[in-house]
Structure formats: structure tokens, C-alpha cells
Subunit: 268 residues, 4 copies
């Protein structure tokens, strides 16, 4: 089985930059994907702002969020958010953790997210809230211990989005592009919802409409249309990732494990 890791790393860098370019991520937040060949591993950037991430920045982690090899660079402290969700949910292939300005009014007040237009249905009907204080008392608010990540994963349950009180949002996807699509469209819905609440009573999508609309992603041309649009906007901003000129962190890991055969195939 030839690895498609280099293409996956490029796509993951692109995903980080798209979500930043669409205003969801800023200096903070992160986007990961499950390793395309090894379901017991995931790929996440070294400590770097999403808009700046290139394919060479990713580190390979096991599901306990330990790097496969010492990366020699600073790492995100909150990577257990990713690892614990991949551990608990085999059907999750990508995760985004963010502090979208559009979501913050909901996050700061404990107001439920509701889909106010069809594209917002992808966030689900009233996705759950998680409050780190409930189980762990006063903390520095970062999700850094495995048990904190596991608690968040339990709150997510079988949903695809979980809101974190006084912190942010974590979004899951059955593949990377769907994760991006869910992240950006729920962000837009949150903006619309918050402003709508100021002028009247929202009548959200019905449960039936929410379910049917949320299935549009895989059945219409919407996702590919959006992906072309987001990529074009990133290109216009002069911000497309570039293919790595040196070995990637993941390749260095592979090499340090003596995994020469695979490395050769990949470079072929």
C-alpha cells in the first residue's frame, strides 16, 4: 500500500490556512487529521499559527498524544483535544479546535447554537456544551491533561461539534474537507444567529429540516464549490502553502524509525 502522506500533509496545511483565511482561526486554534495509513496516529502542526503552517510543520502523534519521535520544536499544549477524540470516535478523521469570534457570544453566555439557515444545519441541532470547571474545578482553562481531553470527548459523544464554556469550540469531521466545511459554515451560522437574536425570536430549522439539510454536503456540489472558492481566496491573499523543500517532520520521524522503505515509496 503506497502512502499518500505527502498529499495529506499538503491538504492539512491548506485546511489550516483556509479556516484562518475565512476568519475562524487567528493566532490560536489548530486543525488535525487522522494519519491516512495508520488509524492509531494523527497529524498536528508544531506550535504555530494556522495561517502560517506548511506541510513540513506536522508532527505524528499516537492517540495518547505522544510524538512518534522527539520533534525538537515546541508543540501545542492542547493536543489531547485531538488525541482523545480520535481515540473515542473511530469515525472521526479530522478535528478543528477554534475560538471563532462569531461563536464567542454563545460561548460566554451558555446560549445554545441553533441552525438558522440550511447551511448551518451541519453544526447540528443544539450541539452539547462542555464546562471544564464541572469536573476539574479552577484550571488555567487549557485542555492539557489526557483526562481533560477524554472528558471533552465524552461530552462530544456522537455529535460533530461541542461548545466549550468560556473557551471555544471543537469540531469533528468524517473527512478533512467535511471538517472544514462544518467549521466555516457553523461559524457563519453563529454570526447570523447572534445578530438575529437581537431583532426578534428565531424560528430555527425544524429537526426534520436540520437532518435533511445536513445531508446536503455529501449529495450536492456544495463542498467542491466551496473548496474551490476558499482556495482561490487563499491564493489571492498570497497565502497558499508551498510544497516542502526539505524533509517533513513526519518524514524525519519515519527515517529515525528506520522506516526507509516507506520513505522511498513516498518520495517516488
Amino acid at each position: 500500500m503506497p502512502s499518500n502522506l505527502p498529499a495529506a500533509l499538503f491538504e492539512l496545511a491548506l485546511a489550516n490556512r483556509i479556516i484562518a483565511n475565512e476568519g475562524v482561526l487567528d493566532a490560536f486554534g489548530h486543525v488535525s487529521m487522522r494519519h491516512p495509513d495508520q488509524p492509531g496516529r494523527y497529524l498536528l502542526s508544531r506550535s504555530r499559527s494556522p495561517e502560517l503552517i506548511g506541510p513540513e510543520d506536522f508532527i505524528e502523534y499516537d492517540l495518547d498524544s505522544r510524538p512518534l519521535a522527539e520533534p525538537g520544536v515546541p508543540q501545542y499544549t492542547e493536543r489531547v483535544i485531538h488525541g482523545e477524540i480520535y481515540k473515542a470516535r473511530p469515525n472521526v478523521m479530522a478535528v478543528c479546535h477554534h475560538h471563532s469570534p462569531a461563536f464567542m457570544p454563545l460561548i460566554a453566555t451558555g446560549t445554545d447554537y441553533v441552525p438558522v439557515f440550511h447551511l448551518g444545519s451541519i453544526g447540528g441541532m443544539k450541539p452539547p456544551f462542555w464546562d471544564q470547571h464541572d469536573e476539574f474545578g479552577d484550571t488555567n482553562m487549557l485542555v492539557v491533561k489526557p483526562e481533560e481531553g477524554a472528558s471533552l470527548a465524552r461530552a462530544l459523544g456522537q455529535h460533530w461539534m461541542v461548545l466549550m464554556r468560556r473557551h471555544g469550540v471543537t469540531v469533528a469531521g468524517s473527512n478533512l474537507r467535511e471538517c472544514v466545511y462544518r467549521t466555516v459554515n457553523s461559524h457563519r451560522n453563529a454570526d447570523f444567529q447572534v445578530r438575529a437574536m437581537l431583532v426578534g425570536t428565531i424560528t430555527p430549522l425544524s429537526p426534520g429540516e436540520t437532518k435533511l439539510s445536513s445531508q446536503n454536503t455529501g449529495r450536492t456540489t456544495g463542498l467542491s464549490r466551496a473548496w474551490e472558492y476558499w482556495t482561490a481566496r487563499l491564493a489571492k491573499a498570497g497565502n497558499l502553502p508551498v510544497a516542502p523543500k526539505k524533509k517533513t517532520a513526519a518524514e524525519r520521524v519515519a527515517k529515525s524509525r528506520g522506516d526507509g522503505a516507506r520513505s522511498k515509496k513516498r518520495r517516488a
Copy 2:
């Protein structure tokens, strides 16, 4: 009668990009025009985000929203919005369907649009609302069946704008530029209205003022001034459409119909 189709296709690409560049359209939404020579047909892009559309992307449809020739590329699923309005309203020459962020608070709460300043009068005094659920129950919220499009066209009636609950807005024009002008200015009015509702009681334009102001478009230099401005902004954003280097989809259709005479005239 020599065809002015190439110029029309360029203008339609420009219209799509202007409305996107002014913040009304994003990855989704679409702008169409009635065929300049054939009132029983209309022109609409293949499935593509409006900001990226070029003159070569348009497909020719009959009023039942069937392509004149198999286009070989993905199409918008909601094209019946356009076809059914052209069918019901011979005086409509252009249609824009959008999900403007400025309109969303009204759309999500069923709040009437009212003109709060003279340029907003072009949207009319309390344009009608349409709710797909009233006639069709739980759906995926997309307007894809001919009867759904026909229902929307009935709700539009003799108005020039119809608000779609939990979805967006559809705008009509007696020509393409007027449709753009109505779309952008009603979008701005909606933004002003929503923010005004937060600080006090709106005293909108009187019915008389609305009627008189809405006639300014054709009687003052406003539209041509705005068109130069929007085009200049698009140029500055590096986003003007370029003339097609290969045959357009519409030309390919013409050719496949053996409509050589017309094609030659157009290229002359």
C-alpha cells in the same frame, strides 16, 4: 438581428463578481439573466462560486431549467428559482439568489424588510416572505423541484424581491444592472435596518417616499455612478473577469445544435 450574446455573457460574469465583491454573495448564491435574443431561455453559470465565474462558464437553459445541451459539468441544483421566475414574469430580465449576512437576522426571525433610507426603497415596502415548509413540509431547504420554484415565483408575485424563511433572498430586475443595484442597495439597507432596530424605533420611508425614491434609479446618474465604482473596486481587487479564450459553454451548445450561422455572426 446580430446576437449580442458575448457581451451579455461578459456582463453577467461581471455582475456575479460585483455582487460577490460587495459582500452579498460568498461561496453560494447565483445570478442569471434572460437570454438577450431568446426570451424563452436564460443564462446561468455552471456550479461555481460567483466570484470565480467567467463568461465561458454559462449554460443556456430553457424555462423548465433544462440545459439546451448536456453541459458535461456540474450544475446548480437550485436553478428552478431562476427558470420559474422567468416563466411567471415576462418583465423580469435578471435574477439574483443570495444569503446576504445583512439579511440573515430578518430571514431567521421573519422580520419585515423596510426601507430606512432612500436607496433602500429599491427593495420595496415590506417585500413578501416565502416559507418552503408551508407547502412542502420538511425538506432539505433547497429549491430544486419545479413546483418549489413555481411556489416561490407565486410568492414573489409582482414584487421585485422575496425573502425566504430560514434560507435567503431572491431579487429580480427589469435588466441586469438594475438587478445588481437592487441587490446591493437592499443588502445595505438590511444592514442599516438591523442595527437601527437595536437603538430605537425605526420610522421608515412613507409609502409615497418609497415609491418616488424607488424611481430614482432610472432617472438619475446613480446607477452608472455605482457601476463605475463597483467595477473599479473589482479591478483593484484583481478580480475582473477576462474575455473567454476558448468557446463558451453557450457557444458549444449553439454549435452542437448546428447553429453555425449565428455563431459566425457572433464571432465577426
Copy 3:
């Protein structure tokens, strides 16, 4: 007395573009100045969006808003706003008419403008409102008749800003740069005021603070600092006006009047 008209025309183009670049003006609105040599005349662009105006676009008007010579290009229909204020107020040297998004919530609801921070004091304490309907009943909302302009000028009285119900704002200045400074800073204050009204009760500047703060403009380095900043931003946006390569409209007027001597001096 050598004329400084060319420099004034360049500065007036710059003023139009700065106010647009700072988000106050869009396709519509206009900025004029009294003629530097002839107090009975004023300079206003042909019908064009402020962001696009160059020194060659200005037309010379008498205070009855009649062009000194037939300009041969479309003119703003609302120029009486400018002419009638110059006629009524000899100490006004510049006028800006705009529909700032920040002001619209006040304009649509009849909410008084109040200074909420020191820089907002330049708009005055509760500047007057004018409603075209009071005197003229249902109109198309444009200020096009001399008596409409005169009515607005009476409402302005000895103030430096007048709010126009369901329309916009007109700002005056004792010189052009002060007019720009008042326009931009009152626009920012309006934005702050509107958002502040949503979270609590505003305690505006006291009358004494308003008076003292409003005198800062001429006594501190604030205006020159802001002018350098606005100009630098305009340059960065690639939008500085360029010196005219052909005769200006005003020069053509001068020439058509046989005013050769003055023209020569100016070109020297």
C-alpha cells in the same frame, strides 16, 4: 494674487478619496470646497464616486449651484446641499454630504448624536435633525431644489453637522481638512455610540468637556498626524489621486470665459 486653484483641486480630490477610504463614503456622497479665490463660487466633482475622483473632475459652480460653464458631463443632482450652505454660512469653506453606515441607526430612528469620547466632540453636542418631509411632504428624498437646500442650511444654522432623517448627514468645515477630520471622527463616534447604547446608559461628555475638546483640533498636532495617516493608508491602497494630465474642468471653464491671464499664471 496668484491662484492656488490646482493645489486646491488636488487637495479636494484627496479629501474625497480619504473619506471614502475611511469607510464613510461609498458609491454615493460628495465633498466640496469653496473656491479658494472666489468666495462666491464652489468646487464639486462631476457625478462620480468619491473614491475615483481626480483633480480634473471638478466643476466650478456659483452659489445658486449653476455651473460656470456647461460641463458636458453628468452632474450631481444634490449639489444645492453645498451651494445653499455656502450661501448661508460665509465661514463654511468645505462641505461633505454622506450616508455613513455608522450613522444610519441614528438617522433611521431619530436618535440624537452625542459625543462619547473626546474625538467625537468635534461633531458637537446633539447636532440638529432635518426632515425633508416636514416642509416638502412626500419627495424622492433627494435634495435637488434650491428651496430644499436652503431648508437644510437653515436647519444646520450655526452648527457644523446636521443629521437628515431617512437619508444621511451633512458636515461643514472652516477649512477642508477640518471638514474631513470632523467627518471621519464623528463617523467613528457614531459607531461607538450605537454599540455603547446596546450595553448600558451612555454618560456623554459634559457640555464643558465637549466645548473644550472640540477646540483641540486647531491646538494640537492631531489633525496633521491624522492627515499623514489617512494619506499613507490611501497610498497603501494604491488610491492616491494623480495630478491631471489634461486641462481640468475648471480650467476649461476659465478658458471658455476667455480668462487667459489667470490660466497662464496657474500653469506657471
Copy 4:
């Protein structure tokens, strides 16, 4: 002891531009730092908008806000804000004074700042308010007299941020980058807080969470990640400061004091 002044001046220009580029500062406001070698002096730009400041623009002041040498250029009138805080607080190494649009709703209404997410904790739990009117009655609202600056410094006390009624905010830092980090993140928190207040009751971070979160800055990779991000955004905006090509104002001061030895070292 070799001086690191040139590097400090470059970093201070960068700090001014970053805070402006992130939307906190506009034409007005200023950022200073304590002199790296002389704790009894501080460095502040000549009267210039922060986005335009270069390393050569800084003037050396004593803690009474008197320039070490006559600068020959206009100076900020409000520099006592900086001098009096450095005098009262030996542990303050940098100060930013601003009128952030996000803060203005709080400033105009006397609403307390509260941290609504972890990054907002750096602004502290309900930082104090200062009202110039309490002690000085009607003024022009500028903080120009030493006793006005000293009054503000007393209000700041041992906090790291003080809100100024009807005016703006002053932020302190234990080093320059921390001051920038506090300024930008509190600005974002204020935006979130103001919008959150519109949709429900905020449940802010607990005192324990606020304390623990506010210590993250020095213990995680957050600050360096943010600094790289802000610098990259500034570079993309074409707005990085450039190293001085001529003697800086501070060097001219040094030279005028006959401090030749130090100047030589610095240039080496």
C-alpha cells in the same frame, strides 16, 4: 555594558505597528517602553500615527516627560501618561495608550471589563476605571498635565490595565511583548464581551480561572506563536518597519550630549 538600544527601538516600532495592524490603534494612541539601559528614562515616538512609526522616530524622555534634548519635531501632548506610570511602577517596562473600538462601548457607559474566555484573563478581573472629571472637572479630556498623569497612575495601582471614562484605555506590561499581548487579547475579549452582553448573561471566568489563565503567557508557547503571526501579518500588509538609514532621534540626543563612545559601540 554595550547598549541594546538599536534593537529595542526597532522592536518598539514593530510593537506600534503590530497593535495598529491588529485594529486597536488608528491615527491616535501610542506605545512606549522604558529605556533598556536607563530605568529613569523612556522611549516614545514623536507625534506620529503608530502604523507609520520607524526606529528613527523615537525620543528619549526622563520620567517627568521632558525630552533629553530638544527634538525639533512635534511631540505627543499626552506623554505624561507614560512618564507617570513608569515613575510610579518600577516593574512596568512598557505602556500602550489606545482608543480601541472594541472597548468604546464599555468606556462610554462605565461597564466593567470581565474576562469571557481564557485569553481575556490577561486584562485582569474588573480592571479599574478612571474619570478625569472626578479630580480635574471639565477639561479638554487630554491627559497633558503631570498631575493628570499621576492621577491616572494612582488609579492603575498594581493592576495592568486601567479604563478611562469617555476616553480610552491604558495598558502596562512587564516587558514590551507582554504589553502587546495584553493589549491585543484584551481588545478581542472586549469585543466578545460586548457582543455577548446582547444575547444573554455572561458567566465570566472565576477569580481562580482568571488568575491561573493569566499566568499562561509566560508558561506556554502562546506569546511567541502570536508574535510570529502578528509579524507575518504586518509583513503581508507591506508594513514592517525598516532599519534606520540615518541617525535616530535618540542617537542625535546622545550625540548632542557628547556621548560619542556609546554611539560608536552601537553602530559597530
